[in-house]
Amino acid sequence: MNINPGEKKKLIIIGGFCLLAITALCVAAWGTGSAMTANKNVTGNPQLSVTEVIIPVSSPSSVTYSSSMQKGGVPPGIYQGLVIKDLNGTFDPALAESWEVSADAKTWTFHLAKDAFWNDGVPFTCSDVKFTNDYLKANNVTLAYVLHDVQSVDCPDDHTAVFTLKTSYSAFLDQISRQPGITISPRHIWQNITDPQHYEDTKFIGTGPFIFDQNTAGYTRVLKNDAYYGKKAQVSGVVLKVITNPDSQVLALKNGEIDVVSDISPAVAQSLKGEKNIALYSINDTGAYEVAFNLAQYPSNIPAFRKAMSHAVDRNTISSLFGTGRPTETTFLIPSLAGIYVNPADVGMYNYDLAEAKKILSDAGFTWDKRGNLLGPDGKAITLTIPTNTMAQTGGTDKILSVLKNDWGKLGISMSTVTYDDKKQYRKAVNANAVFIDSFPVTLHDDADALSNFAVTPLQETNYYNYNNPEYNALLDEIHDTTDQQEILKKAYQLQDILSRDIPTVPVCTSDTIVAYRSDRFTGWDLGPGYYSVTDPRVLTNLIPVR
């Protein structure tokens, strides 16, 4: 280790240079980095007003995709579709003020808002609507599949858009407005862009109630659009703040750094109840759970097994474990959202009765061995492996499974679970096992078209249940062919009758989303069921600052 002084000197010089070089590199990197982060829109309001609502988001990427039109990750309230989906199979006007459909459900005519403008002052016309359809398809943008059924869009005048579909499709409005849906993109911005997948948009020119302001260092801000043609916002802007950890969001709410936290657990909500300046409300039925059967796998391919199991799901206990939501007594649709579409004849079919389940099993040729294990008609023991997915609200699935394990154990069925981290693997496992637990966003439970979940159609060659009933498929086709509401309702009832007979799935319960907000800052959050997100533009435009 002993070296001569000359070498030491050199070493020190080299070391010094290294350190300097690294420092320089870092400073340079930081410089370019911060220049990139601050893509400011100069037209924005320079004042930070106290009437800006601050909402946490859990991931930086949820608000900062800056390329790829129609991809999501855009701040709320900027882009709009033609219509907004509402409860009970109805739609609210957005860029389309009114619309009509031909009797064969093939030609859809939208009358567009006449006083709508893009944020940069260019008037919104039908050419933007036509452009959106043509451009998505011509450039193979991923979401083009949403407009798969559209043959062409025509513009008889600036404020009328006519969609001609390839086949009759009465649920077309649902298709374009339900997640992911399609928003209209500005023609004058995108028409010169040939590579939309790799184009970096920094302006986000839209037509909505909010205008993009800036995206800086963990914050994204949109400002109120004073020229908006519809209901104008009463808050001066919305700031999205990145807080990755859900519990830190609650801490920040308590400290007053943010104005609202959505999706908190019932236990956390309970403890927030006494807090000063914090109020709570619950958005009912935002998630729905079901015990689903894969009809291609034994023993779920035996109708009696499914029927028996439908009486072995203890909804009330599961619901009480959830602490929110309600047991679902219907075949698939959620009454609070689907209203008239729920067939009253099929409500309360799956009552919890283990004795009845046992009887159905033994009638169908199932037997029990000496130790009480259930044996199938072929004499072999019934064992189930239930795949679960960590990303799909593990907490809820776990609770259902813990109750099922107990009850189905009493019936002599041994159950095990395998959890998959990845959605693709999970889907594969679902296809290879007889039973799975699924959770759906409620937008898939609210009208007649939601029943297409169980159908096999040209667009949907298979469903997760491997359920393929020609009668069911034909009925659904008929629903798509007609626009007569009475007809649709009648057929929806018939579909539910078939479901209650075939039982591809047993609905379990819904869950609610609990929201906590600063009552000393804004009111007007709670708009009732269906408004499942606090960044829904309809919620944001309803907020009123508290003096």
Binding site: P246, D247, L251, P266, V268, S271, G323, G395, D421
Partner: protein, 273 residues
């Protein structure tokens, strides 16, 4: 003197952890994933540390979590040290072509960043603590082989090994009687320090949700507590027990490592990055 006492103390603590892990089914009132009642209950009513956000018993999770954490920490360290000792000794003792080729391969493999690689590999084996431990052991041994090979090389050139060779002792005899015993201090120290390193890393990865999210271990317990209300609601009985458990074993291993190092070789430090 104090070093010996510290060493004994840390070994005692480690034994305690192992005992808890081994007797988990007898100590824990519930299984780790069983839902035992209402969520977020405070301690009491048969729940020593209350329940977590889904209603699982925190104490039972803590006890069962010891198994996973210890398997990963010690399993991968054991494998890594076993491979590096075997390969290092053989290479150092025999030398020659094979040695040269293996050294070249190691030279190429050395710079591969193991940490990100580990994270990606866990995606393949999920759930699979055992598989990930094995992979980690194998990956970690790349760095260990060099560490063992150098002293093995110099040992095989010492007069007493030369002497043993000249009187016709078998290679196996020489390695097992003369070389391995002299390597033991460095091997033991390396084992203890790698166990601590892997253990803390496993818990950390599990905490950020990148490592086997299915099994209950201390990292995922801390993550649950941290994400679902322990901090904002001040539920210290939820977040502190797994944290203290990790700190305890990590501290015991660190103390054991440093004490061993001082006892075996008071003057030379082992670079552990």
């Amino acid at each position: 003197m104090t070093r010996n006492i510290l060493l004994l103390l840390s070994v005692a603590i480690l034994c305690m952890y192992f005992a808890i892990a081994a007797c988990a089914p007898f100590i824990a009132p519930y299984t780790a994933s069983e839902i035992t009642g209402a969520p977020l209950q405070p301690p009491g009513n048969g729940h020593l540390f209350g329940t977590n956000q889904v209603g699982q018993d925190i104490f039972s999770q803590l006890v069962y979590g010891a198994q996973i954490t210890l398997v990963f920490g010690f399993g991968s360290a054991l494998l890594s040290v076993a491979i590096s000792t075997w390969a290092g000794t053989v290479l150092g003792y025999y030398g020659g072509r094979v040695d040269e080729v293996v050294c070249r391969i190691l030279d190429v493999m050395m710079p591969i960043p193991t940490f990100p690689l580990l994270i990606v590999l866990t995606a393949f084996f999920n759930p699979g603590v055992i598989q990930v431990s094995i992979l980690m052991g194998v990956l970690g041994s790349i760095h260990g082989i060099r560490l063992i090979r150098a002293p093995a090389l110099s040992l095989s050139q010492t007069p007493f090994v030369e002497g043993a060779k000249s009187i016709g002792a078998s290679d196996f005899h020489i390695i097992s009687r003369h070389i391995l015993p002299n390597l033991m201090p460095i091997v033991t120290t390396k084992f203890v320090s790698s166990s601590q390193h892997y253990l803390v890393m496993g818990v950390g990865l599990s905490f950020i949700g990148l490592w086997d999210t299915m099994t209950v271990d201390w990292g995922s317990m801390i993550q649950n507590a941290y994400a679902y209300g322990a901090l904002s609601l001040g539920l210290w009985w939820w977040i502190l027990p797994p944290g203290i458990a990790v700190v305890g074993i990590s501290l015991a291993l660190a103390l054991a490592g440093y004490s061993l190092e001082e006892i075996f070789n008071p003057r030379v430090g082992v670079n552990r990055i």
